[in-house]
């Protein structure tokens, strides 16, 4: 206003600017302190959280770890074929049969290391009792200084199937005791590209101590998984595993469907799912051509083809029990006694 009254006057301009400066410095300076502190207190580079929502996406493992001191118990189920010629209302389109059922227990030793135990029914490679160790070696940061998260998995299994003494061509012939063992090693390499899109590459190697005569013991597989959030709690998830090791026999060929090979023997697992997260649970409704739930089973032996209607519904229920000093594992919160002690200490 002073400027309007005395335009062009050098003193008035100075006057105006000094007052302005005085007022501004008080205001700007005042706001500045807390932002300055916040900036200096903020951690320089933070690891990303929740690249995926769960330790497993559909069939395969993700880079996510079981939380420290938490026991993650899950029951996974895959129903029978939905659209093969034999399926009708009498099988309720596969819902009356169980392709595979798996029970797993995973325990987080610390935030980068977890161990798992479990057993599953299996489809081709049946009745496995398995254990695994999972270790997170690299964590992606929010500023992409470290652009990737890498987790390694080593898994061993022993099959409990009854020996088929009279069938040398069977996978269950198992002449020696050590024929029952099989192993998988995987490296999960993931990037949370944006807050709604995560992508993972999974180079895997599967070794089975006993295979049929037209097969090889070792098999390289490359997996590609992705998760796209469609809303805050819902996401579309996708998985594909391409076997790399070629075989001269009729089965395990590259892209049999595209090349028009019928009865290719084994097909690449291609899985789609819809993920809904509610509080402590992640519900997945999935549609897959994959029946097995153990790596040694579904990576090496997936006899189901989408083109032949051999896809199925599946689900997984998981429950986490949080252990720790003074924590009630059923509710995951501090025990009443501990809370009261804390409160007494505070006041």
């Amino acid at each position: 206003m002073l400027v309007v009254v005395l335009p062009g006057n050098i003193f008035s301009m100075k006057f105006f600017y000094t007052v302005l400066l005085g007022v501004c410095s008080a205001g700007v300076f005042g706001q500045g302190i807390i932002d300055e502190i916040a900036e200096s207190e903020a951690p320089k580079s933070e690891p990303v959280t929740a690249t995926f929502k769960s330790t497993r996406l559909l069939h395969g493992h993700t880079v996510e770890m079981t939380k420290p001191n938490a026991l993650d118990f899950r029951i996974a189920h895959r129903f029978g074929d939905m659209a093969t010629p034999g399926t009708n209302v009498h099988t309720l389109f596969g819902l009356y049969s169980a392709a595979d059922i798996a029970f797993t227990f995973d325990y987080g030793i610390n935030k980068d290391l977890s161990v798992g135990l479990g057993w599953n029914k299996g489809t081709v490679y049946r009745e496995s009792w398995f254990g695994n160790v999972k270790y997170k070696v690299l964590k992606q940061t929010k500023d992409f200084k470290i652009p990737l998260t890498i987790t390694l998995l080593a898994q061993g299994a022993v099959t409990g199937v009854k020996r088929q003494n009279s069938l040398p061509s069977s996978l269950e012939y198992l002449p020696k005791w050590y024929n029952r063992f099989s192993y998988t090693v995987q490296a999960m390499i993931a990037v949370k590209a944006t807050d709604w899109l995560s992508i993972q590459l999974t180079p895997s190697f599967v070794w089975r101590n006993f295979v049929t005569s037209n097969d090889k013991n070792g098999l390289f597989v490359l997996g590609l998984s992705a998760r796209a959030k469609v809303s805050k709690r819902c996401a579309i998830v996708f998985e594909y595993f391409q076997p790399i090791t070629r075989n001269n026999a009729t089965f395990r060929q590259y892209f049999p469907m595209l090349r028009g090979i019928k009865n290719a023997g084994y097909y690449a697992p291609l899985n789609l799912g819809f993920e809904i997260e509610t509080g402590g649970h992640v519900f997945q409704i999935n549609l897959t051509n994959t029946a097995g739930l153990l790596e040694q089973d579904y990576l090496a032996y997936n006899p189901n083809s989408w083109a032949q209607g051999q896809f199925r519904l599946g689900f997984c229920i998981a429950r986490t029990f949080q252990f720790g000093k003074g924590i009630n594992p059923w509710t995951g919160r501090y025990k009443k006694k501990v809370r009261e002690e804390k409160k007494a200490k505070d006041s």
Binding site: F15, T18, G30, I33, I37, P68, I327, G332
Partner: protein, 185 residues
């Protein structure tokens, strides 16, 4: 004359700014509690930042949301990812002024009323918060307050499936110790 006036005014302004000494805390404690018949949820952070200006009686707070610690880490992840969205809104911010005309250089424990805006989850709300401020050795030293936050006020949605597990109104209590702010060079 004008030069003199300008000098006086600017000097006053600068003097006021200089007198407005800031007292800050970088390890303020903020605790929240959600109580329902089904589940009690609570979390605490010790990394809240508070600034109190002795001259203008302004109070500011910045609470880094991803520093809240839960007993259940999965719950902590959900809190950050789904409820407060701490990647998008990293801080809860409060900007207010103490209503009472108290002298923050005079020792004593004062009951204070702070009026200001509370910004949580990107939604600003005008709030009047009751608290306590202790002045020791002529400097504000301790502060505490307790208030309630209605989640719906800040557009924090609770999905229907967990509606009964999370209270609609969250109880918050906080306390902090203040020290004179020394800018880092």
């Amino acid at each position: 004359m004008k030069a003199f006036l300008s000098f006086v005014l600017s000097a006053t302004a600068l003097f006021c700014a200089a007198q407005d000494v800031a007292y800050s805390s970088t390890n303020g404690k903020v605790h929240f509690y959600s109580k329902t018949p089904l589940e009690d949820i609570e979390a605490i952070t010790q990394k809240a930042i508070f600034v109190v200006y002795a001259g203008s009686r302004k109070v500011q707070a910045k609470i880094p949301m991803n520093t809240f610690q839960f007993s259940q880490k999965l719950m902590q992840e959900h809190f950050n990812e789904n409820y407060v969205e701490s990647d998008k809104f990293p801080y809860a911010i409060f900007n207010g002024t103490i209503e009472e005309n108290i002298d923050l250089a005079k020792d004593g424990e004062y009951d204070i009323t702070i009026k200001g805006t509370f910004d949580l989850h990107g939604v600003k709300q005008e709030r009047v918060i009751k608290g306590k401020l202790t002045v020791k050795n002529g400097e504000p030293a301790l502060g505490s307050a307790a208030f309630d936050v209605k989640l719906a006020d800040h557009k924090i949605k609770i999905p229907k499936a967990v509606f009964l597990n999370i209270a609609e109104v969250i109880k918050i209590d906080l306390e902090f110790t203040l020290a004179k702010y020394i800018p880092k060079k």
